[in-house]
Symmetry: D2
């Protein structure tokens, strides 16, 4: 017996969602809801065996739908997701999970109460490089983490409704929350806006306990596209350069050896260098992997690691960043 | 009639200074002062025709010395430079010009009063890439500047007496002060320390008027060496990648076009892309060029662009950064 | 009145052809012929408004088809193309145009006789980098050409029916024939086979008049993917690196200045270096551009630059390369 | 008791030789011979404790010299080396060991007869990357070698007395002879000359038994500097990119798996891909290492791997390449 999928929103990302759910052996794309008639026509063309409708409610409240996939503007996420949950559906919701952390928490509570599964679509967590980084960090081979530095810059894609941190850094926040067990205690944000009221060049810092620090550079005004993350550990260091065609992850057997010399007050530090290794990464489409994981979570009644609470923790940081920006970059404590 | 040079300090940088002053057609390296007997022996071996002495005063107060070159630890810069000035000598002093901005200002005042020339050795300003950037920025072809972003990271060189910003970002501060006419109004610094009391991962931000912002990442714990600066202008954008063997400077004919669409409240921005150009850069040793410039300034009674006041403006920013670090990264206004 | 397109062969490349012809405003994909039932089912799924048939003749001899697109194995090209021409159809044929240069010539003759248009699908000629190189070479700014050196290597894609030169170097031969007006006079080929009877590492050399030389490295056993071409001119030199994400074409203002020094028998050569420039390249799909060009040629009764004779000249070189391989790499003259 | 070194020739490379022999704890640079008075003056300046003389014979026949270092034009190598050997001296001779393979053989014979040590200065064999490649190839981890492909190109350095193969490919020939135990059986060379009678763009091929093939591209007219070698093995593949600042050697766990499918005549090949590893390389000056090795060989009466016969085998290949060029690139068998 296959699960009936209803997709709400057939804009930029909708076609990818439809294709990947349709390819899953346990799923049928039963219905697609889209308000825009042009986009609806496209959906009809591509999915002759699905029903294409105009109203979200034809999915969210319909008894024949098992899973609702929400790919609409963020301001609607809360309302649509809650309706779906109240009608007993599991929900896949695009990131950010909701417009505020409060909404996100209420989604999480509703899902828990009804024993339904909600997943926040943080697709990056299912890419080869991030999966490999998770494996490396979890193995402990890097030693204690010292810092995390991410650069995600390019020319383009002003969004009129969000600033550059909500647009670009959100990916990296989902990633660091996935990789690192500890939660940040404090957030600060720095930025500058040049072409409208939202910042288009932004820097975000997260402070953790034990001197671990994370810093994110997001920029819509860079002439070159850079996606590079450095992760420093006491035993190993790692570079994820997503701009590389191959060898996106490099693990350096480099570190710092600290020792106390007799009669010397200050610690002495020397460097240790060894081989570099670039591991083979999983290929295949990240979104297909995430759909498979979601269905598997539903099958086994498990909560996904990127559930509504995980989505909420990203939104909490972005909200704190907005507060820091409003306070002239003063650090802001996280709840 | 050649000028007699006296070099105070023959440590890491001293041999390069001796070699470059010795190569200048108007200079003679008359005397070298060095307290350490081993280093003194090296100086004697390499410079058989110069006098090698133990005490700085044998240069600073000697009537036969025209120019004193101070290459000693920063804590001694003020005392040695002032003594040299009081004895009528022009002074070349290593960066940072002094340990505090107050000392730097007093050096500048003394030099002005006595009509002597002081140069702060910011060697980077005489490299091919920085000279070319200066030319490009001055030409106005970039349009108004939007942001400046610098990354200078590598594994290594803990200095026990300064933090990573004083060690690495100082280069970039001298450069941005040289390139940009405006002065920053506010500074903030973020950092983390892992192996001693000084931060080894640091981020520095400068705010300017007109939404221009500059940000610097300095890091002693990076597994890879990166030296890359992005400069965004309204008309052109520039990348300086000092890790490239050639093509260190790339100028992108890229920008943002902003227009108002009738009846639309928000500005609309679109991107403009064109060719990239990597200009031929001056080759040759930067230090030789700087020595030539210094002698030329003395000959013509001109103050170098990297005089004691220029050195002071770098120290002012680093002092403000230290204050910001002490205030948990709160922004600090510059004098 | 739209032109009716019939596509013969719906294997690897067929879907791309169907999509691009379908997108052309003057074309309708009327019919698709495919012998394999599985592939036929895929065609039916994707093209509900086209007829999907089993036999090529249902296209080649059908009165309602204006243009036949031949995307079948090379051994069938001659037969299918000749049948289409004899039934009055214009023909798009995949590369290589035919299995032998003799077949190719007969196709060209038949097309000329019937005033029909045949195009050989050398898609690379319609990519941004090759179009830009054509423009640069034609402008004369490079001065006389000195050499052409191409490397096209990767791990993979053993083809059991052809050697690595027919698989990979064929692209570069189409390109050099397009860029350079002169024809090579002599060919030699060097190679080695390790896993079946065909060479999997190959080197091909073309000799031209005036000391211009072209050399091609094709390799199925390289651990890294390299696609890089150097073109040396007397005034400018060019690098096409297709592995770059951007800046695929770089033009160097570098050259050699030769002069005779009085009383010196040998010529003296010095180097001239200047800026590098990376021009903006056309984006968009090369195949779409080629389809547009083909229809335009038909509309205006012009022969495409990549017509059957152009296809023949590539096959001639590959045939000569095979003879050279059989003769232990001895150079072989071209007809 | 230290060994007395006499250096014959103080041109481009002589200063490096003097410095590295002087730094060896068992050596004293006793005497330097140089015909040019200007160069002699430089030697006197730099080496106040050595004797600087005008005639090679003052070293080659002097009883107080233990080791003669020959750094003169290649046409003089034979005569000078033979004189030194006849006077009982060990000899270090720059590459190529002699102008002809016949001369090289007679040097080797003379050294063997007199039980003296001759080393050919193939400095590259003592660099970190080549030492690591030797270790990897010898370990057998690469499986049987399939091909070797080297590119060594840049703009510049026309030499009026030799062609580009003698200038650039000679390095790679010394390297491949060092790495690979088998000897090539056949040589062919292809080239083109544009500015004088010697070729400035050259391709050299070596054939070995068992389908192993080596190919070398040497070019004085490339706008970019490339030094890249691919080595394909059945189990592992290797890239040496000397243009990288770090990670010059990368070892790919990639290969080809061949199997026979029942009832299928042709072999089927599939690809195997795994991690990449970039090993830590020895740092330090290659020439210092080579001097140490040479002295060690003398101490223990061992013949260096880069002895006169090794030098001869490089010259043999270059001679065969010249014959191939004269025969319009026909393959030429090696003795």
């Amino acid at each position: 017996m296959k699960r009936n999928i209803g997709i709400v929103g057939y804009g930029y990302w909708g076609p990818n969602l439809a294709r990947n759910f349709a390819s899953h052996p346990e799923c049928v794309v039963k219905r697609i809801a889209e308000v825009d008639p042009n986009q609806r026509a496209k959906a009809e063309m591509s999915w002759p065996h699905s029903e294409v409708v105009a109203h979200a409610s034809q999915i969210l409240t319909a008894p024949d739908i098992d899973i609702a996939v929400i790919a609409t503007p963020v301001s609607t996420h809360f309302e649509l997701t809650m309706t779906a949950l109240r009608h007993g559906k599991h929900v896949w919701v695009e990131k950010p999970v909701a417009a505020t952390s409060d909404e996100a928490r209420r989604i999480a509570d509703e899902a828990a109460k009804r024993r339904l599964t909600v997943i926040t679509d943080h697709t990056f967590l299912f890419t080869g490089p991030v999966m490999k980084m998770k494996e490396i960090v979890e193995s402990g081979e890097m030693g204690s983490l010292l810092y995390y530095d991410s650069v995600r810059v390019n020319l383009g894609m002003f969004q009129h409704d969000v600033n550059v941190l909500w647009d670009l850094a959100t990916h990296d926040l989902a990633i660091i929350n996935y990789l690192v067990k500890d939660r940040p205690t404090t957030v600060s944000a720095i930025g500058s806006s040049h072409f409208n009221s939202h910042i288009d060049v932004g820097y975000l810092t997260l402070w953790y306990n034990d001197n671990f620090i994370a810093h994110f550079h997001a920029n819509w005004l860079s002439p070159v596209k850079i996606r590079r993350t450095l992760v420093g550990g006491a035993q190993r260091m790692l570079v994820w350069d997503d701009g590389e065609r191959e060898e996106k992850i490099k693990i350096y057997d480099k570190g710092v050896k600290v020792f106390n010399r007799e009669g010397v007050y200050q610690m002495l530090a020397t460097y240790r260098v060894g081989d570099m290794r670039s591991p083979l990464l999983s290929t295949g489409e990240a979104l297909a992997r995430e759909v498979g994981y979601f269905i598997d979570c539903i099958d086994h009644g498990r909560s996904p690691h990127n559930d509504a609470l995980a989505g909420m923790r990203v939104v909490e940081i972005l909200e704190a960043a907005d507060r820091s920006l409003a306070l002239n970059s003063a650090p802001v404590e996280l709840p």
